[in-house]
Amino acid sequence: MKVLVPVKRVIDYNVKVRVKSDGSGVDLANVKMSMNPFDEIAVEEAIRLKEAGTADEVIAVSIGVKQAQETLRTALAMGADRAILVVAADDVHQDIEPLAVAKILAKVVEEEGAGLVLAGKQAIDNDMNATGQMLSALLGWSQATFASDLKIEGEHAVVTREVDGGLQTIKVKMPAIVTVDLRLNEPRYASLPNIMKAKKKPLDEKTAADYGIDVSPRLEVVKTSEPETRQAGEIVPDVDTLVAKLKEKGII
């Protein structure tokens, strides 16, 4: 079975995000970019499936600017077998919308004959949480979202999902799209030998046009603004004062 893992190049989770002065979005010029952390978990899970003998090949795919090549090299250094870069934008500020990404992925899945897509549940840059679901609809495949545990049992995938209030275990028919949550695994570091090998692994470069997909935006960002700054706290000497204060403010 081939496993396809879409990986997105996003602003590093450690970077303090700054809104562009015109409010059109977040400033991405000269900031550190990394692989979307949920995608890293998906890559890790795919490699584990391969190590367990369940998967034969792990293919990482990224859709976006040319610089996403770095993100793919990271996936290769973690242990993916090969990578496909679909160049769909020149400007680092242009985000490819979930529907366009899903359409391209659907083509790649067909072309590669993949039996499983492991994707992050969402990208941390715009939190759309849509690509996996759209891809499932386009392919007519089963979907299991927010996976915190995954087992492949013959023709089925058994997935534990993190839902409000607890865990839900579902069994879906393969082929399937599984989107992964934070607690599925802890991604490995790229080992030094694998970093050195990554360069020699194949990385195919395509364009959105190669798949005949129009990536022009359909959504319009009306405004981006900084979150409200937190109000300064107050240190109280003891529990009694705390209770009194809370009462005074009508909180209890």
């Binding site: 770095e70 970093i195 360069k199």
Partner: protein
């Protein structure tokens, strides 16, 4: 001229950076408080480093290392410099000088050191011979076919974890027109060799938990097989292999300064006095500007010295400049950061006071700043006859 990192170098940097952030940072405060690295923790860091293929990555592939270039290895050292030295010690980088091992020395010392089975320490300094290495008193004399060593060494880093030691000892004196000149030989000495003892050393203000020990030799008998390099060739092995250690001190200083600077920058933007962020006062903002300028300068100086080594260009002076400038830069950056933090900078709630203390030794070990200036100036003036 090309200043960017390759994809591989970028990945090396980010892997080591994440390793330090996840496997080292969380344990630093505890090491600092107790002055000790718990045995299991050290072994755990070592195990993970071996698993990642980074252990002894400074060694060539034919002996089991990763064969990194000087530049790549300098990037590794730079990222490790962010973390506590007591802990990153277990992210093992054995002494390059072990490449001088011959024949069965390779199986007993070099290869086990690269595999992480045996740890090494290097001993040159003595109470009466610091910068003046050749002034050492610790000596070995011939007795039958063996050598008998007497004397002591102090300030020996990593000795408490070491399974064996590379020890430089005087093995005779040559009369020269400039006066008597000692001949030096380096020996491989196993812990537990009769007549050899490792004792607890002094408590240092820098790098708590990264201890130094005192070594005593009392009629310690060693066969010829323990000589590393040639008899009386101690300075040759030293010159052939030890230059690179100074570069690691420069790289450490740059990495540490960057971590410290992140604190300074964030605090300048967050801390408010007189109704505004202190970074809005020119007195503070100009300090921020000077710090990053110096850090970048030291970074390029260090990387370019490493690059020169890779190109087989003469690099002795450039390495000395990098070591000198980077360590002095680190002293200024840690001191300025502490000043920006005000009183809180001195409290151990933040790592700033520790960065400041740690920085102090960098200007002393592996050749003091004065000795680096000596190397640099001799390199320039000697050819002019001055």
């Amino acid at each position: 001229m090309q200043f960017g990192l390759t994809d591989e170098q970028q990945m090396i940097v980010s892997t080591v950076r994440s390793f330090v952030e996840k496997e080292i940072y969380p344990y630093e405060a505890e090491v600092e408080r107790t002055g000790e690295v718990p045995e299991e923790l050290g072994q755990e860091i070592k195990r993970k480093t071996i698993e990642l293929g980074f252990y002894a990555c400074n060694f060539p592939e034919e002996v089991g290392g990763a064969g990194l270039s000087h530049l790549d290895f300098t990037l590794v050292e730079r990222e490790l410099g962010r973390g506590s030295m007591a802990l990153t010690h277990f992210f093992g980088r054995p002494q390059n000088i072990l490449m001088a091992c011959k024949d069965e020395q390779r199986d007993r010392y070099l290869l086990p050191a690269v595999r992480g089975e045996r740890m090494d320490a290097l001993a040159m300094t003595e109470p009466d011979a610091g910068s003046d290495v050749r002034g050492m008193k610790c000596q070995a004399v011939r007795d039958g076919g063996d050598w008998v060593i007497n004397g002591s060494k102090h300030f020996i880093s990593g000795a408490e974890h070491a399974d064996f030691f590379i020890v430089f000892v005087a093995t005779g004196v040559d009369e020269t027109p400039k006066g008597p000149k000692k001949r030096i030989t380096s020996f491989l000495v196993d812990r537990g060799t009769p007549g050899f003892e490792v004792r607890e050393g002094y408590r240092s203000v820098s790098h708590r938990g990264y201890k130094n020990c005192i070594l005593y030799f009392d009629n310690c008998r060693l066969p010829d097989a323990q000589v590393l390099g040639a008899v009386d060739g101690g300075f040759d092995v030293m010159n052939e292999w030890l230059y690179a250690t100074r570069l690691t001190v420069a790289a450490f200083s740059v990495g540490r300064a960057r971590r410290c600077f992140d604190y300074a920058l964030a605090y300048s933007a967050e801390r408010k006095q007189f109704g505004q962020a202190i970074g809005k006062f020119q007195g503070v903002s100009f300090q921020v500007a000077d710090m990053i300028t110096e850090i970048d300068a030291a970074d390029w100086l260090t990387l370019s010295a490493a690059w020169r080594l890779d190109q087989d260009l003469p690099s002795n002076r450039e390495i000395a400049s990098a070591k000198l400038y980077a360590t002095e830069m680190l002293a200024r950056v840690t001191d300025t950061t502490l000043q920006i933090y005000g009183g809180m900078g001195l409290m151990d709630d933040f790592p700033i006071e520790r960065f400041w203390r740690d920085a102090r030794v960098e200007r002393i070990w592996d050749g003091t700043s004065e000795i680096q200036r000596h190397i640099i100036s001799r390199d320039l003036l000697r050819p002019l006859g001055a």
